[in-house]
Each structure stands twice: as C-alpha cells, then as structure tokens.
C-alpha cells in the first residue's frame, strides 16, 4: 500500500505531509518521500492543491 506522487505536477509545498495521520510522508527539499507507514488512506491525495497524488491500494 502506498501513494504515487507525480513529480512533474508536485509543487513541493508540504501540505500532504501536514495531513498525513501516519507520519509516513516527508518533504525532502524538492520531493516527497513515502515510507512503509503509509496506509493509503488518501487524505493527502484529497487535499493536494495540485492533484499530484494518486493512491494505489
């Protein structure tokens, strides 16, 4: 279970990191890293201002 961040769309603003209940995301300079704690809950995809995140279940 994880998410896919489209790096060509991502604006690396960190909003997804702020909403992740599992603390699975991190904004590393200009890209998002996802770790094993991701539950594919989809909150990040919902609030991403650019629609850059896709949930794969």
């Amino acid at each position: 279970m994880t998410i896919k961040v489209n790096k060509f769309k991502c604006g690396y603003c960190g909003a997804c990191v702020g909403v992740c209940p599992a603390g699975a995301l991190e904004l590393v300079e200009t890209w998002i890293e996802v770790d094993d704690n991701c539950t594919s809950c989809g909150i990040c995809a919902k609030i991403c201002p650019l629609g850059a995140i896709e949930v794969s279940r």
Binding site: G11, Y12, C13, G14, A15, V17, G18, V19, C20, P21, G23, E26, L27, V28, E29, I43, A45, K46, I47, C48, P49, L50, G51
Partner: protein, 404 residues
C-alpha cells in the same frame, strides 16, 4: 558547525528566524538550520501583513515591501461590495511583502545577533534520552550529523515533523487545513491600493479568493478552499476557473501552492527540551489564514522562554509551560476567537453570505474595528450568527454599562 549549542532551531521561516534572533540576542549559542538551499523559496504565502504588528519585529524596508495597502474590498457571491478602510480591516492588511527577500532578511537578522545559520541542512530526527529531547539528527550536503543542545525549537512549518518525533500529534484533518494555489499575475488591472476578497461556494468552497497588489501592476491572485471540500476539484483547478473567467488576458509569472493550518490552538506545543512555533504549532489564524505575525510573536516568546529556562538549568515541560501560557494568553485568544468565526463561516450558503453583505449596506464603516464589524453583522443577523455571541461579551458589557 559545532556539535553542541544551547538552542537548535529547525526551519528558517519567520517563526524560526525570530526565535533564533531573540535567543542569540540574549546571549545563547544558537544554530538555525533550513533544509532549502534558498531561504524563502518557493513562496507559500499571499504576503499580506499588518503594518502595526510587523513594526514590532522589524523596521519596514522598501526593498522587501511590494505594496502599501489602504483597505480591503470584500465581495459577496452576488457581487455586493463591502469596503473597509485600513484602520477597519483589523490590521490584516497593510503591506504586501516580497517573502523571498523578507524571510532571508529575518534569517540575516538572526545571524547578526550571533546565530549560526546553515541552509540545505535538514533535521531527520531527534536525539531523545530519558524522555528529554537532547538534540537533532541532521542531513547536510549528504552527510549525517548529530548535534546536541539544551532546547530544540520546531519551526518547521506546515510539514512539521519535529513535534511528531517528540510524540505531539500535529497532523491536520482535512477540515483543519485550507489548501491553496496562487498565481503572481500581470495585467489584472486592479487598484493597487486595495486587497480584494471574493466569497462564494461555487468559486471557493469554505474559503475565498484573494487578490493582493504586488506593485508595478502585478498581483497575487490566489484561492484557499477547505481541505474537506477539496478532492474532486483541486484548489489549482478552482483558481484556473476564476482566472479564466475574470482575467482571461492576464499573464501568469509564478505559481505558488501550499496549505494553511486552520485548526485553532492545538493541545500541546511543548515537551521536555522542546517548543513548537509558528505553523509547526498550528498558530495561523483559522479565519484569515494569516500566520506571519503569529509566527513572529510566538518566536519571540519562545526565544525569551528558552533563555529563562536555560539560565535556570531547567528545560522540563513544566518549566517550558511559560511558553504555553504566554502564547495562549496573547495570540492564542485571537486564534480561538477566529476558530469560532471559522466554524460559523464554513457552513454559510451563498444566500446567507449575500444576506450578511446586504445587512451591512447602511452601516457606516469610518471608524470600526473588525470586532465592531462582526458585532454590526451579529446585531443585524442574530439568528444566523448566534454561535458568535461569545465573542461580544465585552462589547455587550460596554453597551450595558452605557445604559447605567
């Protein structure tokens, strides 16, 4: 970089830089780290700030001020306009900044006060021993370092991890974040003396569109919508629709995106050896989304408390409660009031928003505070705004006093 400091500040936004500056001025050894290679960039802000409050932290300089704003024009969904002069707008407007420069200047201020500043340096974890935060793990140019200290300050913005590492859950529910997109545009033709706000659920569900002048014919045109209303359509798509409709011929010179915490005060912003400030502590205003001033205010308090605690050799969560008390009794009160207004505002239909605007048509705005404005709204719309009554305890008390 040394391996020991009194204070390590994570994040060089307004909150972190003011904390670092305050602590360094008090004689503490301070390390300020910023993961970006350029402080302030990319911008996550509409850059509007109150003049009065800004001056409490730094003397305004023309090189980082883009526009000097006289007032606000607020439009309800049917186009009814309410105009507020500067003193009326509650200080939410005043200057429009160039944050890319402003943030760097604030970091420089901390350096002048004696703080060490390292960019492209990211905190990757905390050193925790005996339930006390004792330092940070850093990544700097691909190398890992441990830096120990007496107090860590989490000033790491919306994406804050520092609090979580110390066991404070700062994650935001969708209903507690405004998701935002903004264009820097030329050719909007707006009056550069005013900030513009557009309300309406079609245009910006549980949020608003803003247009802030950036000088020289430029403007920040942006939108924030409540996270719970985002998904099928993104903030970026809402913004594109607004711009296509209103400014089809204007040009886009920059794109900015970001999230603003609108949760109101969170339960805890301290742990043993740790304080959270600014967006990391979710201290932005739940109704306006403004967070620069609160970040700076919290930073100053945290810097002072760090000095007091370290001089008494006690950095326990009990000792750091001075920070909790000071911010909650100052900026915290305003944040709590704004949360009440937010909770009412996000449920308004367009018809209700129009009704509210119409009810103000005959009100004279020449000398009103924002609270007076809300009270005028309340008096004319008691049923709709009943949940706001708590805000007016003092206003009502004064009026009663008058009767005597």
């Amino acid at each position: 970089m040394k391996d020991y400091y009194d204070v390590v500040v994570v994040g060089a936004g307004p909150a972190g830089s003011i904390t670092a500056k305050t602590a360094a001025e008090k004689g503490l050894s301070v390390l300020l780290i910023e993961k970006r290679q350029e402080i302030g960039d990319p911008v996550r802000c509409a850059e509007g700030v109150s003049k009065v409050w800004l001056r409490k932290h730094i003397n305004p300089e023309s090189r980082w001020i883009c526009a000097d704003v006289k007032g606000s024009r607020i439009f309800s969904p049917d186009g009814t306009m309410i105009e507020m002069a500067e003193e009326v707008a509650g200080g939410e407007v005043g200057y429009v900044l160039e944050r890319k420069l402003f943030d760097r200047v604030l970091a420089y201020e901390s350096a002048k006060a004696g703080a060490q500043v390292f960019v492209k340096t990211r905190a990757t974890g905390l050193i925790i021993e005996d339930d006390f935060v004792k330092g940070v793990r850093l990544m700097h140019w691909g190398q890992e370092y441990d830096v120990r200290c007496k107090i860590v300050i989490g000033a790491d913005g919306i994406e804050s991890k520092v609090g979580r590492w110390a066991g404070i859950d700062t994650s935001l529910k969708p209903v507690n974040i405004e998701t935002c997109a903004q264009f820097l545009m030329s050719g909007t033709g707006i009056d550069q003396d005013y900030c513009y706000f557009y309300l309406g659920n079609e245009m910006a569900p549980s949020g608003y569109v803003w247009i802030f002048p950036k000088g020289g014919g430029l403007a920040n045109v942006g939108i924030g919508i409540l996270g719970s209303k985002s998904g099928k359509k993104t903030a970026f798509e809402y913004l594109n629709d607004f711009v296509a409709d209103k400014y089809p011929d204007a040009r886009i010179l920059e794109v900015d995106v970001g999230g603003v915490p609108v949760s109101g005060s969170i339960e805890r912003t301290t742990a043993n050896g740790l304080m959270l400030v600014g967006d990391a502590a979710r201290q932005s205003d739940p109704i306006t989304g403004g967070g620069i001033i609160n970040a700076m205010e919290a930073g100053r308090i945290a810097g002072e408390v760090a000095c007091n605690a370290i001089s008494e050799d006690d950095v326990s969560v009990e000792r750091l409660n001075e920070y909790e008390e000071k911010w909650r009794s100052t900026i915290g009160l305003e944040i709590d009031n704004s949360l009440v207004v937010k909770n009412v505002f996000i449920n308004f239909t367009d018809k209700e928003l129009d009704g509210l605007a119409h009810s103000l048509q005959d009100v004279n705005f020449s000398s009103m505070s924002l609270l007076d404005l809300l009270y005028a709204l309340f008096k004319a719309n008691k049923k709709l705004l009943w949940d706001l009554r708590g805000l007016f305890r003092n206003v009502v008390k004064n009026e009663l006093d008058f009767d005597h």
